[in-house]
Amino acid sequence: MHPIINIWRKELMDILRDKKAVRQSLLVPLLIGMIYAVMNPAFSSIASERARAPLSIPAQGIENASEEFMAVLQQYDITLEPYEGDLTAHITSGKEGAGLIIPPGFGENVNGEQAAQITLLTNPTSGGIFGGGFAGGERLDLAINTFNTQVAAARVQSREMDPALLTPVSVDTRNLATPEQLGGVFASFTLPLLVVIIVVQGGLFAAIDVTAGEKERGTLEALLVTPATDVQVMIGKLLAVFTLAVVPYILTLLGFWIAGRLLPESMKLGGDLPFSVIGVAILVGIPTALFMSVIQMAISVRTKTFKDAQAAAAPLSIGALLPAFAAGVVQPQSLLAYLIPVYGPAALVGQMTINGGILDASALGMVIIGSLLAAVIAFVIAMRLFNRERLLYAV
């Protein structure tokens, strides 16, 4: 058996017998993927659900509102609930997202074509990101604007003028987002992060175990006196790390896609992520996993103990997320930008989720070339660090 295969096989068998390793390399990524499969469509649809749900707004001076005003609110599924006490403090506290104060004479002033003022209190922070404070205030604002337009149109009409005079530009807004695009809004930012997290998480334990772990156990010297060359030892170990990064990654993404298909339609905001997105995420994840595995080994190979290696590799987990975050904020301005490891794959996956799975083949090519090139460069550096004398005796 070739030394590389021998080392690869032994490392896999060894690591997979460690419950801690199995938990960290396989179960944690799978769990992250499953949670994400449920959370992604759920988060995407929460805002939409909030926008559609009946809205109950605390209000003071409801008796001052005209029937016409109340009818418009009803059109928007808004009901006013009488509120006693300090409504401003109540809304400021964030307990509710919007409130309304209707002053005495409001209805009479509107009907009598007098100036009428209404106070709309909003707190977009109410209930956090998905709490609906923002949506509530927005809907109430929209209802009041509609009432304004209606009143103005009635006044213009009573003067035998065309109400169209009030709206020189009428806007015909059409929402052209496909269900797939709607389904991908949340995923366009979070899926690239998921890709990086799983790739980093999957191989981390293995990278430390096959390098610092081997040193800590006192078995490295025995391995290095065998006829296996340093390059064979390094490649055999790298293959084991890569396998443990890639297999859970592929399983997680496939599981994520399957779980997404099994979710009820009501949770999906009308769309699924197309399989092409998952397919490309897997495709770009493989060279990214290779790159990450080499980096993790290069970091761990110079440490003496498992703990040292964990401490040294910890910044990598955070550092790897930065390019993925950047991809969610700054889109590549040229094809060359896709060559940047982690950023390129994250940007490509993010774009595909938002455009309904349409693939830019040249970008995909650049991503694969960039990641493989980076992996080769990192491997050469790792081999320079893998100097048996320095490695064994820190001289």
Binding site: M1, P3, N6, K10, M13, D14, R17, D18, R217, G218, T219, L220, E221, A222, L224, V225, T226, P227, A228, T229, R388, E389, L392, Y393, V395
Partner: protein, 248 residues
């Protein structure tokens, strides 16, 4: 046969090994003795190909380890002083793993592993994971992986260090067995009684140099002492010499 000629290794100003030469013939046990820091382990590591010498030559059965490291290592079985084992693998799996590096496979590998397990009296623990093994049991695995490919030349770095009485006796018996099998054995130890009992030839290294070499009897005679421990202290330069060597 292991031939070492003018071996050198310096770390900055420190001459860890400075022109060491000796030969370990087949069918004999050669002991490399010296105080801590004398250069024993560095010499053994250079012979094993773990450290590159700055000068000199190591031949394993005529193969220069610097020129043909893979071929030379195939002829060598090494038990280093870093005697860790893989706790999640059984002794049988560990021996098979090392055997494959030497080109063994299939039934040949299985037979060699079985023979090594039997030779080291390990069959009762052969299929148990090594986690929780005693030091003596772990030492057997370490010896086993150095022997699984049936090498003609064996390098043992303090093989009885930290073992209990029974394990020490067993290890010494195994080393004697190697000699009976006509193998070349080079080993280092701190235990003078062990060297006196086992070795046919002893090289004493102090301050990176071989200060004296010969049979245990010849060394005792040369020092005018009736035991190897006293002879060692005398030949290594007395208490002052040993202290100076360790300080260096």
């Amino acid at each position: 046969m292991i031939e070492i000629h003018d071996l050198k290794k310096h770390y900055g100003q420190v001459k860890a090994v400075d022109g060491v030469s000796f030969t370990c013939p087949d069918g004999k046990i050669t002991g490399l003795l010296g105080p801590n820091g004398a250069g024993k382990s560095t010499t053994l590591r250079m012979i094993a190909g773990l450290i590159k010498p700055m000068g000199g030559k190591v031949n394993i059965d005529g193969t220069d380890i610097a020129r043909e490291p893979v071929l030379a290592r195939r002829k060598l079985g090494v038990q280093s002083d870093m005697n860790g084992v893989y706790p999640r693998l059984t002794p049988r799996e560990q021996l098979a793993y090392y055997g494959r590096f030497y080109g063994l496979s299939g039934q040949t590998l299985a037979d060699r592993v079985e023979a090594t397990l039997r030779e080291l009296n390990m069959l009762d623990i052969a299929d148990r994971r090594a986690e929780g093994f005693s030091r003596g049991q772990r030492q057997k695995i370490v010896l086993g992986r150095a022997l699984v490919h049936n090498p003609r030349n064996i390098l043992l770095d303090e093989p009885t260090n930290g073992l209990d009485v029974m394990a020490v006796r067993e290890t010494r018996e195994t080393i004697r067995l190697f000699k009976e099998q006509g193998r070349c054995v080079l080993f280092s130890t701190h235990y003078m009684d062990e060297a006196e009992r086992l070795c046919d030839h002893i090289a004493i290294i102090v301050g990176g140099k071989i200060v004296v070499a010969g049979s245990p009897q010849a060394l005792m005679q040369q020092a005018g002492k009736d035991n190897l421990e006293d002879a060692f202290v005398a030949l290594a330069g007395g208490r002052e010499g040993l202290a100076r060597s360790q300080a260096e």
